[in-house]
Amino acid sequence: MNKYLFYPGCSMEGSARAYYESLKAIQPALTMELEEIEDWNCCGATEYLSINLIPAYSLIARNLALAAQQKNGTDTVMAPCSACYLNLEKADYYMAERPALGEKVNEALAAGGLHYEPGSVQIRHLVDVIINDIGLETVKSKVVRPLTGLRVAPYLGCMVPRPDFAKRWSDHEHPSELDDLMKALGAEVIDFPMKTSCCGGHMTQIGPETAYELIRRLVAAAEEQGADIMVTMCPMCQMNLDAYQGETNRHFGTNYHMPIVFFTQLMAVAFGIDPKQAGFGLELVSAKDALARIGLKAPEEQKPTPARKKPEGLPMPKPLPKKYASGQTVVEE
């Protein structure tokens, strides 16, 4: 049994719910024990760092300090979200590289009765532990419904293979890990040239036109390569490519329809888990056709609750009774 201190991150409880649900679904098959870091807080994403440095690093370091305290048969923190993974790794690395930063952060942590010694925990991403601890052979042995014929574009995004302080990945720009994992599921993996290109990050919020172009390039490349579906390991990438694909289409007058799901969702269906339990149906760009290629039916679409429809709503003028319809004056008897 591989045990990890688990840092889910905020997205897993919201926009990336499909990631969390599919992870929970495959966890028993992977013999992976996850112990959530007690009372973890947000990592600050890419926002706090632009406001104020020491608070930003102290926010991240509180999680590291809590993890180091909780160490319970393992010193590995596993983060499935790219931004969280990078922030935790970054704080750990920079606190050691720049002792002045480490001191200031610890001065702040002390106000909450905490302390973090850089290097006390290992920070690793979910894909890394699946491949390097659990192993592709174990993954293969769990596949009961191979994804034969499904053309998958593996999309890692930026923040896991780069900057990669701990040198855990095979390459900064064209790492093979996610490809290998998808091949182990029997999928036909596209050699996706943009596998670590940027999805636009928070630019979908603050500079949409910059983001639309980045989203367009990715979706267009996946479609040109004949992908049925893209898989990602990053909540931000999934959100941008899925939720903003419609806006991107409107912006460019294009008509892309490229579903993007989390790699764990494809693992789950390959392990024989029901698509609904694997978080399918939560994507906005439906993966129905992709699922059909491997003989699976997408879960029923949940329709928005219809607006209240009472036969008698607001007191609106009713059509005139027939006898008045001609417009002639009718003398009531």
Binding site: D39, E107, A108, H202, M203, I206, Q302, P304
Partner: protein, 199 residues
């Protein structure tokens, strides 16, 4: 007053003395060891940047401007705000300049000096941070409503379908999640706000 070693006296052919105060200030305020002084102006950063087309200066130009002490122009540049933190430049830089982290530093300096020219990006960051400082977790629905109503109300009608989808699929929580020990986090952040990174 600049530390003595950052100001080179006016030499032959120099119109004014070289002043590295700004370069030092940025390097000092950057999280790790920035290697900013090592930039050789090769332009690999700008050439690798997916969003360079929307920047007023490429990172390479910006670093030359830092070295030239062009404080006003650097802090008014949109470059750090357009940076998408993809770290392509960082892994390709032959001099190992922590470019993305320098961008974060420049953003916070521009906020402190109130030099940014578009208020959307800093307000987005500030709204996000406000949620985190209140709940200990991010709160997407609160962030989205507050930010869009303030800054991009006209974008809302086009996004209604997406927003409704996110809500009906329960991908956005209606109420924020809170951490238990908020007092501890507040104490840490309040203390942290009194501290600054110096060498």
């Amino acid at each position: 007053m600049a530390p003595a070693e950052t100001v080179l006296t006016q030499g032959a052919g120099l119109k004014k003395p070289e002043d590295l105060t700004l370069l030092h200030e940025v390097a000092e305020a950057t999280a790790g060891v920035s290697h900013l002084e090592m930039c050789i102006q090769c332009g690999t950063c700008g050439g690798s940047c997916p969003s360079a087309a929307d920047m007023d200066h490429t990172p390479r130009a910006l670093f030359a401007m830092l070295r030239a002490g062009m404080r006003e122009e650097v802090l008014r540049s949109n470059t750090p705000w357009i940076c998408v933190s993809c770290y392509h430049c960082v892994v390709r830089c032959p001099q190992e300049v922590h470019i993305a982290d320098v961008m974060y530093t420049l953003k916070s300096m521009a906020i402190k000096a109130k030099k940014y020219t578009d208020s959307k990006p800093p307000d987005f960051s500030q709204t996000f941070v406000g949620m985190v400082e209140t709940f200990g977790r991010s709160f997407e629905l609160g962030l989205a409503t507050r930010f869009y109503l303030t800054h991009q109300p006209l974008r809302l009608p086009g996004m209604a379908g997406m927003g409704l989808g996110m809500l009906t699929k329960k991908r956005m929580n209606l109420t924020p999640n809170r951490i238990k020990n908020m007092d501890q986090l507040t104490a840490i952040l309040e203390k942290a706000k009194t501290l600054e990174l110096t060498s």
